[in-house]
Symmetry: C4
Amino acid sequence: MDIGSRFDAPEFAALRERAARVRLLTCDVDGVLTDGRIYFNDEGIESRAFHASDGLGIKLLLRAGIEVAWITGSHAAAIEHRAKMLGVKHIIRDALDKITPWRMLRQELGFDAQSCAHIGDDLPDLPLLAASGLAVTVPNAPSTLRAAAHYVTETAGGLGAVRELCDLIFVAQNIDFDATMEKSA
Amino acid sequence: MDIGSRFDAPEFAALRERAARVRLLTCDVDGVLTDGRIYFNDEGIESRAFHASDGLGIKLLLRAGIEVAWITGSHAAAIEHRAKMLGVKHIIRDALDKITPWRMLRQELGFDAQSCAHIGDDLPDLPLLAASGLAVTVPNAPSTLRAAAHYVTETAGGLGAVRELCDLIFVAQNIDFDATMEKSA
Amino acid sequence: MDIGSRFDAPEFAALRERAARVRLLTCDVDGVLTDGRIYFNDEGIESRAFHASDGLGIKLLLRAGIEVAWITGSHAAAIEHRAKMLGVKHIIRDALDKITPWRMLRQELGFDAQSCAHIGDDLPDLPLLAASGLAVTVPNAPSTLRAAAHYVTETAGGLGAVRELCDLIFVAQNIDFDATMEKSA
Amino acid sequence: MDIGSRFDAPEFAALRERAARVRLLTCDVDGVLTDGRIYFNDEGIESRAFHASDGLGIKLLLRAGIEVAWITGSHAAAIEHRAKMLGVKHIIRDALDKITPWRMLRQELGFDAQSCAHIGDDLPDLPLLAASGLAVTVPNAPSTLRAAAHYVTETAGGLGAVRELCDLIFVAQNIDFDATMEKSA
């Protein structure tokens, strides 16, 4: 199945080259897998809104054999609920410093930094953007983040930004959707 | 009552012809009846936001004798709660493959594929778009979906896209609103 | 306090005349006091999002002695919770037909139709728009509604559309904000 | 770390001067720290959506030794939950009149009005905007508010407006992000 991607265009050649090497995708949560909103109710329970199209992208990525990890400064249990539903096994919460757990995860999985992609939207993500082979951020990120990224998504965080990155990886690695979808069924 | 529809315009003649044959409308849920956001709270409970104007459109469609079914890959109970409130009796959840249950439903109800409309927003909907007499998607769907659809709604998913499709069917089938609204009261 | 309103402009003279007569404001709920989204969780509990600026407008209207009523086809208890918090005493739920309870309320309060304003966004509101001295709808309402209204708000439903209508009434009736705010404190 | 701010531009010189004096930031809640939506469920429980980027801005401000207080007309417990999570100690709820508790807080902390910044979006915030050394509001505030403010944020309330104000203060006071982030870790 042709996903008909804009990433096929010649201008994305260098980006596709970076994406072709990706074996591990790490994602920030608030502002990336969500639109940054954290809902509090009067009983102190938090909610977050994840997007269905990010979910399908991540599931297909996992089926294609690419590792996915979420690294967040938050402690919220909702994040773990969503991750488990998608089959994401590596969830690092309470990460005020993100680079140390990221290095440990890379060593555990045996990937060098050039095989890693990171998508993040705020200052704590800067060290990971600087270190990763493919560094991605979202349109409303601070300018320092956008300057440090190889690519800024067209889609806003929480509305499919991660899916856009998944599509780039699918195109760059010639991953066949029909086959992966059957495996996922 | 004249619903004053843009679908009266000559450019929509071929589309109205397709819509005139519709006896069964099948709807994807996430991204179509919702804007794709899935809310998770810290206790693992999911929420989804359905739109009131879609709800009225579906109720009027049912009153006019057109069948409505929802087909979703999700398992969420919230979907069943909303469907029941609107009087939608056919709810197919956990449908990773959508074409098999769709064929079974068609046979059960006795409709051929030309009498069916489907609205969906992501890759699992492609087979249904290809098979249905009227294939509809939403503006932010992947390009493959938009290429496969007879019509892309102006309204985004979750904000009235399904109502827009209902309006097309009302116009194409000359359904009188006042009469159906009285029956619905 | 000058609320610095655009409704001071000459083009709004006829509209101000209608607004000057308003003694009773009736509001549809879904799509007007909310953006039309109805949140369902997996336990079947519904939520709706009301806007703080509508809330302040309604509280000031009540302090200025103008009656406010909500008329909705919905049964949801959340609507009653929000209405009570704002001091709105007239809440008509489950109103599939809105004109009969509206007439009863008018008689109970002793207002003629020219003293009434209604704001609504969908087909069940049409009879009230046709009957009310000041008929208002929101930008994304069906074209029949917009054709029937004396004014279409600039602000979308659920984001302050009702407050915009309150501001029109304040300007038309020369209501002094400082005084009403002190009374409301 | 250079936060690469637009507030470095010469046109913001007078604004930076005001921001350089800020020792206390007071924030309205609904419409400023949220987008104004108040979610009610059928059990009467309220929710509000705070933004992660505002949260990081406030935490860094506190680490840099600047006091932060929230002043709101609301009674909602959710506000206290979010404030505590960020380390905001001064929370004034049920404040229909905001100027009296603001003066008491200033005296308690020993700051004059010129050392105070306030960000608010509706009529009850006007007295604080008039009194504060740095008065800020959001794009969709009433025109009276915008006229009274020294600065109107580019970002909407609830989507990072408070973070934008934090960034202005960081630039004006030459606060070093790396250092404050390490202290916050």
